[in-house]
Symmetry: C2
Subunit: 273 residues, 2 copies
């Protein structure tokens, strides 16, 4: 297997600042050069906007250990499907097609691309008390339908994957797209996983972009986790899971710049290996 | 090729009254029995609702020949993607998966399943005057990526197809789902095309359901067109296009009843052959 045969999994954040046009241009160049890409995206910001527009404002819960996550009731799942799968996914698919790449958009539900367990109960801290929420639809991807992704790649398509996912009991569940990208990369035997975001990489003193950490050896991942703020914690966790799954290299790169994919591959950003 | 090898294309209307739960149950029985199904759906009603909720109410235009169609600006395309591809499509996909069918939802944009020409100009009558609209995103499907559909069917998946489609110039376009189902059936060499709606079939005196026409020979399609009201005209047009494309039989059936697919296949509804 040479470099052009190996699969590259790239996750683009949905946060403002990331630039879908330059992302698509860079992705299209790589695909035309023979690189096999699987693209993953989130969509938190657009889900928040649509939630507000539809009178069902986004809510967030804090776990006893201090993690923040989206309160995901069934209406939130519907809004997420509209925002992520309906709109954001199709923007990327259309953007790629306009550049000659035959992209195919799928949520984790389609063909059971991403299957996982729904959390039966979510613990949250509300006004100082720990409460148990049982109607939350969140989970973690534990199985990737890599056969379907390989079939599509072999036929010349570029898959573009979006939350939500499907639970083993056929519920639709919210999952973290960074960690889903990580398990996808591991499952496909990808050499590299790129996590593109709206900062240059892991920062020693967030948000000071002058404090970029360019390289994290695997045995220092715990230290990296201590430095990570907010969503960056999930990226570091995803990186760790990807490396454990056999991915050679994870790069957290800047999704706002020109050529975000080739720049990250060239070592710009934070390389974890 | 025996009956279980032949492909059946079924289009389910999005109008109220159609019952996705009974539809999925019937579809799942057929798939488990070895029938190869391709499912197509519309989503006009949900698009209208979401348009209203998002402050961009649906508008309709009337052509000089008296046909009514949706005024489709770019925002309407986005709303259609959210309603049809984001929400309605995933409801059917999830409903089928819960019954053991590995469904995979795709819009016409994904993998360029449905490609067609965008109308460069749409003529409409407004206040008695004929005007020309140049920012409308509508068209007709002229090419189906049947290779992709066959690949998915061969791998055991059940495709569920949703508007919109992609133009030859990579614009996203609104298309009529009945006619898209017809060209899909022809392209796949399907034996049968079922168009399920919220009436029992073609009625001699709409809306009197006691006046069902059970059979229309192909040479009487012109007469049938004369009897059709509203959206039924598109179904008759689709039926004609499907038969011209080699489909053996088109059945317009009742999507509101139990076992809507097997009932239509058994001859309930209006059979056109």
């Amino acid at each position: 297997m040479n470099a052009s045969d190996s699969i590259l999994v790239v996750k683009l954040g949905g946060a403002s600042g990331n630039n879908p046009a330059t992302f698509c241009a860079d992705a299209a160049r790589l695909v035309r050069a023979g690189r096999r890409l699987v693209i993953v995206h989130g969509g938190s910001d657009l889900t928040n906007q649509l939630s507000e527009q539809l009178g069902h404002p986004a809510r967030f819960i804090t776990s006893p250990s201090g993690h923040t996550s989206r309160r995901t009731d069934l209406r939130t799942i519907e809004i997420m499907q509209m925002a992520c799968r309906g709109l954001l996914n199709q923007r990327l698919v259309s953007g790629l097609q306009a550049l000659g790449v035959n992209a195919i958009g799928l949520s984790g539900v389609d063909g059971r691309i991403w299957e996982g367990d729904r959390k039966a109960a979510v613990r949250a801290v509300e006004e100082g008390r720990t409460v148990v929420i049982r109607d939350d639809y969140t989970g973690t991807v534990s199985r990737v339908n890599s056969n379907l992704l390989q079939t599509l790649l072999d036929a010349g398509y570029t898959p573009v994957l979006s939350p939500p996912a499907v639970s083993t009991s056929n519920e639709t569940i919210n999952i973290d797209a960074d960690r889903a990208a990580a398990v996808t990369a591991a499952s496909l035997g990808a050499s590299d996983l790129l996590l593109l975001t709206n900062v240059p990489g892991l920062l020693r003193r967030y948000p000071d972009e002058g404090t970029l950490i360019t390289r994290v050896p695997r045995h220092e991942l715990d230290t990296a986790t201590g430095l990570a703020e907010g969503r960056m914690k999930k990226k570091i966790l995803g990186a760790s899971e990807a490396l454990s799954g056999g991915v050679r290299r994870v790069i957290i790169g800047d999704g706002r710049r020109d050529n975000p994919i080739t720049s990250a591959l060239a070592g710009e950003g934070t390389t974890i290996e």
